[in-house]
Structures are given as structure tokens and as C-alpha cells.
């Protein structure tokens, strides 16, 4: 079954609101990463949180990790229309050498 399931699958908010996206995974991990992708473009790395970390911030981004629940959340504060994109979580699994496993993306639409 899929590693890194995101929810919701789609999210539509007004500019200025906060957006929260969740991700669950199934195996032990070394770290969990969030990426964004504009339509048909390459993925852009946003933030990485290690398995021994619980929360991390980067600008308007806040990511949490709960390894006991095997879940993570990405919060984008004060959203902008330019944040409109698909967001993916990806896990670096324990025991894998060089492999990032992506979950299904969340499509975020920020209305101006």
C-alpha cells in the first residue's frame, strides 16, 4: 500500500488564510520531506524534518512530525495566490539506501 498518504486531496482557501495538509506513512523513517509542484513542473523541496524532531519552521511553513502516529502536517500561514500548487510528502525510509517515497499530492488552490 502507498507510503505517504496525504489528506485532504484538495484544498481551496482564501488568500491570507492558513492551509494545513496532513500526511501519513507506514514504515519507519529517517526523515520526512515536503515538496511543492506547480503544474507540469519539477518538484521543489520545501522542508525536511528528521525522525528525532517534532516540529520545524521555515518562513511561513511549519511542519510537525509524530512518529508514534506515523503522521506529519504542513502548515502554510498567511497563504498567497502564489502558493497555489500540489504538495507532496516524501519519506526517506529506514533501511533504504537512496530512495524517497512520495505520497499522493494535495492540490492547494489559494483564491485571491
Amino acid at each position: 500500500s502507498q507510503q505517504g498518504e496525504e489528506d485532504p486531496q484538495a484544498l481551496s482557501i482564501q488568500e491570507g488564510e492558513n492551509a494545513t495538509m496532513n500526511c501519513s506513512y507506514k514504515t519507519s523513517i529517517n526523515n520526512l520531506q515536503w515538496y511543492r509542484q506547480n503544474s507540469g513542473r519539477g518538484l521543489v523541496h520545501l522542508i525536511l524534518i528528521r525522525s528525532n524532531e517534532r516540529e520545524k519552521h521555515s518562513g511561513r511553513l511549519r511542519v510537525t512530525l509524530d512518529t508514534s502516529k506515523k503522521s506529519s502536517s504542513l502548515l502554510i500561514t498567511a497563504s498567497r495566490a502564489a502558493d497555489t500548487a500540489s504538495y507532496f510528502c516524501a519519506t526517506d525510509q529506514t533501511g533504504a539506501n537512496s530512495k524517497l517515497t512520495f505520497g499522493k499530492g494535495i492540490t492547494l488552490s489559494v483564491r485571491p
Binding site: Q2, G4, N30, N31, Q33, Y35, G40, R41, G42, L43, V44, H45, L48, F88, A90, D92, A96, N97, S98, K99, L100, T101, F102, G103, K104, G105
Partner: protein, 112 residues
Amino acid sequence: AAGVIQSPRHLIKEKRETATLKCYPIPRHDTVYWYQQGPGQDPQFLISFYEKMQSDKGSIPDRFSAQQFSDYHSELNMSSLELGDSALYFCASSPRRGTEAFFGQGTRLTVV
């Protein structure tokens, strides 16, 4: 700063033909990944290399092969192409395995 370069950006092939996709990772990155992303799908891990040696293998068909050369560029070779191979193919590199991945803009392969 230099990013991951992929070529070609677009490729149209007929069924049963072969295709070669090229990737030039960021200098001094030790890990290269290849991903396949179908329309509306999450990126599927194909294969990775660490210091020019094959590291992990994902859901890569036997018709596909990849290698990394002495100059660190990598090629994904795809033979006996099928309609279902139509997708975006991404290459990514990491400065150290298990860290953030930097993605190229992808090659859009269309098999007709």
C-alpha cells in the same frame, strides 16, 4: 546556482521504439534519483545511484535500464515503449543521500 539539467524536455516516440533520457546532476551531489510521474499521479521511484553505483531499485520495468557515468551524468534507457510509458520523467540529485533532493524540470515523454 546550477540546477539539475534534464534533456530533452519533450520527446515523442512511437510504440516499440526506444528512448534515452539524460540527466546532469548538481556538481558534487553524490546521489541521483529517477522518477516517473503519470498525469495526476504521485512521482513513482524508479532507480537511484550513489557515487555512480546503483543503490535502490523501485518499480522500474525490465524494459528500462539506467546508469551513471564517470562524469556523474545519468541516462535512463527505455526500450519497447508502450503507450502507458507516457509520463513526466524526473531526475533529482542530493548532496548526500537521505537529504533533500533537487529536481530537474523533467522530460515529458509521449508515446504514440
